[in-house]
């Protein structure tokens, strides 16, 4: 992680704390939604080595929509062209996210930027767009820490879901977990609502 020398350690800890607190709703959402995606892939995807694919898809795609919508295509062994078209359709919204970050990440080194681009997910982008740090160094550090946190939540959720089905499928009934987490998916909607509320307020008061 370059450029961190400019930020004193105390500030860095504060940024980490801020990013972690901001990421808590995503922690709830990503682990539960990732769990569902992992369970789906292992239970309905009809593939060998499901936890491996769960890891690769979650780490490289970082998209819940495709991880869930793609499972029937995988089960049907759909042609890769079909899969590409499905990906294009469900993930088209991602192509807008970068526009707001063009200027902010102008001077970020290539590989670092490549990782930030990978993490332009719905929730991560929403938090990054709402980031209150105006100093470019702090903002970049916040975005990076946040991306790593959210990325790890997602990977852990998906892999654990796939592991539960393929290794402990006969011991743990996913329905039980689902019953106790029923409704938790609202935290995603709530996160977007909060961000939209703040954005509209900022527009009205003329800040930002």
């Amino acid at each position: 992680m370059p450029e961190s020398v400019a930020i004193p350690p105390r500030e860095r800890r504060a940024i980490l704390r801020r990013a972690f607190i901001d990421s808590l709703p995503v922690l709830m959402g990503y682990t539960t939604m990732g769990f569902v995606a992992g369970v789906l892939l292992a239970a309905k995807g009809d593939v060998v080595l499901a936890p491996l694919w769960a890891f690769l898809t979650s780490a490289l795609w970082v998209t819940g929509t495709l991880s869930i919508a793609g499972v029937p295509e995988i089960a049907a062994r759909a042609p890769l062209v079909t899969f590409a078209l499905l990906t294009l359709a469900v993930n088209f919204r991602y192509s807008f996210y970068g526009f707001t970050m063009l200027k902010r990440w102008q001077r970020v080194p290539f590989l670092h930027k490549a990782y930030l681009v990978l993490m332009l997910t719905d929730e991560n982008y929403a938090l990054e767009a709402a980031c209150a740090y105006h100093d470019p160094e702090k903002n970049l550090r916040y975005c990076t820490v946040l991306s790593v946190l959210n990325h790890s939540y997602w990977v852990v959720g998906v892999v654990v879901g796939a592991l539960v089905v393929s290794v402990l499928g006969h011991l743990v009934d996913p329905a039980v977990i689902r019953r106790y987490t029923n409704g938790m998916e609202f935290s995603m909607a709530a996160l977007f609502i909060v961000i939209l509320t703040d954005q509209i307020r900022a527009m009205k008061t003329g800040r930002r």
């Binding site: 709830m28 694919w53 590409a84 991602y94 200027k103 681009v117 332009l120 609202f186 909607a189 909060v194």
Partner: protein, 227 residues
């Protein structure tokens, strides 16, 4: 197994390539001119951001029980708390807990969408009894269930008749129950009819004004006292 692994590697690669290309698109479009961005890009970015988030709210709601009042009540609490306290975590946790409590206590754990057309009849009559979805129900309960789903009374209610049903009396009793409950337009359909309907490219919109497209000879209309 080797084919399977190769296929999955292909899936991983394709999903990654397309998703990453979409995310990188703005950066690729303006790669050469990163030093001086046109001002419209910045304006566009600032304008598009709330629009995207609003779209995401709609998208997130589509995965919730959006036909009930609960997500809107929870959403109102979230907005209210955010405007008042300005603490995102408090707003999100309170809204989520309210939503979880509402769907847990108000009996809507899993929301099912009713598609009331000949392709997906909600009610089915087998030789053993009357089914609503996958569960057997008392015929007298069916109007209540439909009312729970806010199905309008003037809606055509398709009742799927299993092919091996010879005795029409249970089906006629069900139709009588529906009429008594206010649903005056029950229609019996056979599996053959239901399948033939699939091939028709008609919109599946659940419009209450839509009349059954079924030809009269294929359906048995119940003629009751109200008609």
């Amino acid at each position: 197994m080797k084919d399977e692994i190769l296929y999955m590697l292909g899936v991983v690669a394709v999903g990654f390539a397309v998703t990453y290309a979409l995310r990188a698109l703005p950066f690729l479009l303006f790669a050469g001119r990163s030093r001086s961005l046109p001002p419209w890009v910045e304006r566009f970015g600032n304008l598009i951001s709330p629009v995207i988030i609003a779209g995401l709210v709609v998208y997130a709601y589509s995965g919730l029980a959006w036909r009930t009042a609960w997500p809107y009540l929870a959403g109102a609490l979230t907005v209210g708390l955010q405007l008042w306290k300005r603490n995102p975590l408090v707003s999100i946790v309170a809204g989520t807990l309210l939503y979880m409590a509402l769907i847990a206590t108000c009996g809507c754990t899993t929301y099912r969408t009713l598609e009331l057309d000949a392709k997906n009849p909600a009610v089915r009559v087998s030789t053993k009894g009357v089914l609503f979805g996958d569960a057997y129900v008392a015929p007298a309960r069916v109007p209540e269930i439909l009312a729970d789903y806010d199905v309008p009374r003037d809606r055509v209610i398709h009742i799927l008749l299993d092919p091996d049903v010879r005795d029409l009396r249970p089906a006629r009793f069900l139709m009588a129950c529906l009429r008594k409950g206010g649903y005056t337009r029950p229609v019996l359909v056979t599996a053959r009819h239901a399948e033939s309907f699939v091939t028709e490219k008609k919109p599946k919109a659940a419009s209450s004004r839509r009349v059954s497209p079924a030809p009269a000879k294929k359906t048995i209309r119940y003629k009751g006292a109200n008609e």
